[in-house]
């Protein structure tokens, strides 16, 4: 299996944020990891990316255990991530932000020139001009997050709520971009999102979390009909 998450558990003090979460991701698919706010999506995501260490369970990526590894080693293993709230390096130029990721990412034998070349490719893929980071809008910063993650040459891209703070047209554009990234780069994608509507159009499968537990998984159309999922999302505008 490409990515196999089994019985992943994370506690913060007495609070169990993620409890026995298991799911699999096949190579080449786009998986939606969804759930309302506070359902444990981001924690699960951070556990896979190495930003948090699991209390129990395992994360196997292409046969190797990556659960509990430091973040830089997870990146070297071929897992790239974006942040829900963009975290660009503001003192660096846009190109330098992305080139740094190419230089230190999964293929760390790159020359400086090659890293900058790759960075330009990534920026082109997400449709960004080379400018300063200062003054970029929300949409451009999200694109920068994507470009930087892609520049690390990941086999698996973890995209964290990439649509928060965007309007409808921008959301559609971002969803299309993830589809294009898979098509052009052959990158497998786990997309964490609490807005279900746009996501359903692009993902192959969904895993739905609530209170740190997987409550449903399957094809988007089936998941959307699931009684438990409807209950969790009822009364919210998350289907919008």
């Amino acid at each position: 299996m490409f990515l196999q998450v089994s019985k992943l558990t994370k506690r913060f003090g007495g609070f169990t944020a993620v409890s026995d979460v298991s799911f699999e991701v096949a190579e080449g698919e786009i998986l939606g990891l969804i759930g309302p706010n506070g359902s444990g999506k981001s924690t699960t995501f951070n556990l896979i990316a190495g930003a948090l260490k699991p209390d129990a369970g395992s994360v196997r990526f292409r046969g190797d255990e990556v659960g509990g590894l430091p973040a830089y080693r997870v990146a070297h293993a071929g897992i790239g991530r974006t942040y829900q709230i963009p975290r660009p390096f503001k003192k660096l130029s846009l190109l330098e932000n992305v080139a740094l990721a190419a230089f230190y990412g999964a293929n760390s034998r790159l020359s400086r020139e090659k890293a900058f070349e790759l960075a330009k490719d990534s920026l082109k893929l997400v449709g960004l001009q080379e400018t300063k980071v200062e003054g970029l809008g929300a949409s451009a910063l999200k694109k920068l997050e994507l470009a930087r993650a892609l520049a690390t040459q990941p086999k698996l891209l973890l995209a964290d709520e990439s649509l928060g703070g965007l309007d409808h047209a921008e959301m559609d554009g971002a969803a299309d971009m993830l589809a294009r990234i898979r098509a052009e780069r052959g990158v497998t994608i786990v997309w964490v999102e609490h807005i279900m509507g746009v996501l359903m159009r692009v993902v192959d499968r969904c895993v739905v979390l609530d209170h740190g537990v997987v409550i449903a998984q399957g094809k988007p159309a089936d998941v959307a009909k699931d009684a438990k999922v409807i209950e969790v999302y009822l009364g919210t505008d998350a289907f919008a």
């Binding site: 930003a51 973040a71 830089y72 070297h76 975290r87 390096f89 660096l92 330098e96």
Partner: protein, 305 residues
């Protein structure tokens, strides 16, 4: 022909310029260390003590001093970097390091001579002006050449770091360690590398200082005062341009000499007090330092035209 005093000042400017350049490798990348007095002290004292007590040539004492400095730097820096002690907390830890070093040197007075300092046993007997084995030269021109070479070496290292991807990585780290790690940067290692280079440069600076002055004193090569002087000098000169630290060295030296000529030794710690006050002023009004501000002035009209 240049007189001895101007020659002495030139040597000191270059020597401190070299040490400040070493400090600024870390300082400009978000690691403000008040611990470099420790590395300088270890360099100066290790070499002099090994020479005086064991007759070990500075040529062998220097590697020992460098090894000891590297060990101390790693022991202090690794836990700091591993457990994300940054900013003010890092400054505090390193401040303690330089003060502990000074206190240890002072306390071991049977060996080190305590607060009276120590003089390397003289090797320049009866008209000899050169003792290569003992690294002692009476001719200031020889020292100017040696220290000029180290100063150039320091600038070369600065440039090497400046042009490498490592500098961008450390800048990214200084902004957001977690995001830097997420793109594959080994944060702890990147910081340790530049710390080691910086500490070892400062250590060699200490060795050269001891051999040139032929006198070491815990207060002039270690402790808070000397660490503060480094921080002040670099910030005053400008830590973001290659020659900034050297300008800072010239500035602090002229300031110190001026104060000495004006007041003699009437007010001990006057220089340190003034450094502290001026440091605050520089940080508020001239954060890029003297050279940085001058370069901005020169560049601005050109950009407008």
């Amino acid at each position: 022909m240049i007189g001895n005093y101007p020659l002495h000042l030139m040597i000191l400017v270059l020597l401190w310029g070299y040490i400040y350049t070493g400090w600024s490798l870390m300082g400009r990348l978000g690691m403000v260390s008040f611990g470099h007095g420790a590395f300088m002290g270890i360099g100066a004292y290790t070499v002099v003590m090994l020479w005086n007590h064991f007759g070990l040539s500075p040529w062998l004492g220097a590697p020992a001093a460098l090894a000891l400095t590297a060990a101390v730097a790693l022991v202090i820096a690794y836990p700091c970097f591993r457990f994300k002690i940054v900013g003010h907390y890092f400054a505090l830890v390193t401040l303690a390091l330089s003060e502990v070093t000074r206190l240890v040197i002072t306390a071991m007075r049977d060996v080190t001579g305590g607060s009276l300092g120590a003089t390397p046993n003289g090797a320049l007997t009866e008209g000899r002006s050169v003792a290569i084995g003992a690294l002692q030269f009476s001719d200031k021109w020889v020292w100017l050449a040696i220290i000029f070479a180290f100063w150039l070496l320091g600038l070369w290292v600065w440039r090497l770091v400046d042009r490498g991807m490592g500098r961008l990585a450390l800048q990214a780290i200084s902004e957001d360690e977690e995001a830097a790690a997420s793109i594959g940067i080994h944060v702890t290692r990147a910081k340790l590398q530049v710390t080691l280079v910086s500490a070892l440069m400062t250590c060699t600076g200490g060795i050269l200082y001891a051999q040139y002055q032929l006198y070491v004193n815990p207060d002039t090569v270690s402790g808070i005062a000397i660490s503060l002087q480094m921080v002040f000098g670099v910030i005053a000169g400008g830590m973001f341009v290659m020659l900034g630290p050297t300008v800072g060295a010239a500035f602090t030296l002229l300031l110190a000499e001026g104060l000495r000529l004006a007041f003699g030794n009437k007010y001990p710690a006057l220089d340190t007090t003034i450094y502290g006050a001026m440091l605050v002023l520089f940080i508020i009004f001239m954060p890029k330092g003297i050279l940085g501000a001058l370069l901005d002035l020169v560049r601005r009209p050109r950009r407008a035209s």
